[in-house]
């Protein structure tokens, strides 16, 4: 395994707080499954637009916007703006760094 980046304690804290929510984990799951195939209607492979997340989770657009800001601030997702749309992608490397920190608490957790 390659040498992984070490997360700071603040980064780890933000990531775990972000993932400690069923709604945000559902968002991460949607982004992860979008990774495999392009969305037939609007998105490139690995990308999901905010309106689709809103529709899938049954939450108000403003609520989704809040959740995406939390995930973005935690470095777990990245946003790309194109016109009026915003497309989100999962940062799998960051996700793995968080997993590594949990599996090896002495080193990092």
């Amino acid at each position: 395994m390659a040498v992984a980046e070490r997360l700071t304690d603040a980064e780890l804290d933000a990531a775990l707080k972000a993932l400690a929510s069923a709604q945000r984990r559902e968002i991460v799951r949607l982004l992860a499954s979008a990774d495999a195939e392009a969305d037939e209607t609007c998105c490139a492979a690995g990308e999901v637009c905010a309106c689709r997340l809103s529709e899938r989770l049954g939450l108000a657009a403003s609520t989704i916007s809040h959740h995406m800001a939390v995930l973005r601030d935690a470095g777990l997702v990245h946003a790309r703006k194109d016109g009026t749309w915003v497309y989100y992608t999962l940062d799998r490397r960051r996700l793995r760094e968080v997993a590594d920190a949990i599996a090896d608490p002495c080193g990092q957790l």
Copy 2:
């Protein structure tokens, strides 16, 4: 890698909520480092008693008791009672299952 146990969504939720706290992560870290060597004063290898945690974190005994209940309910630690003392140990397997769930969001997260 051996086939890991799959966590239920509720188990994962409890574990991530438990780890989304700097105080509880500090507790996990202390348990993990106790794993290596026996505590010179009172504890067997891998075990830490509640009073020591209280002292290390500077929190009231009742607060530690609360945090340990959260970690125990999440399956991340186990308690062994001996007389008036309670000794805690880390469940590294559960910790790894949580890490695996994060690293592979499609499968589990």
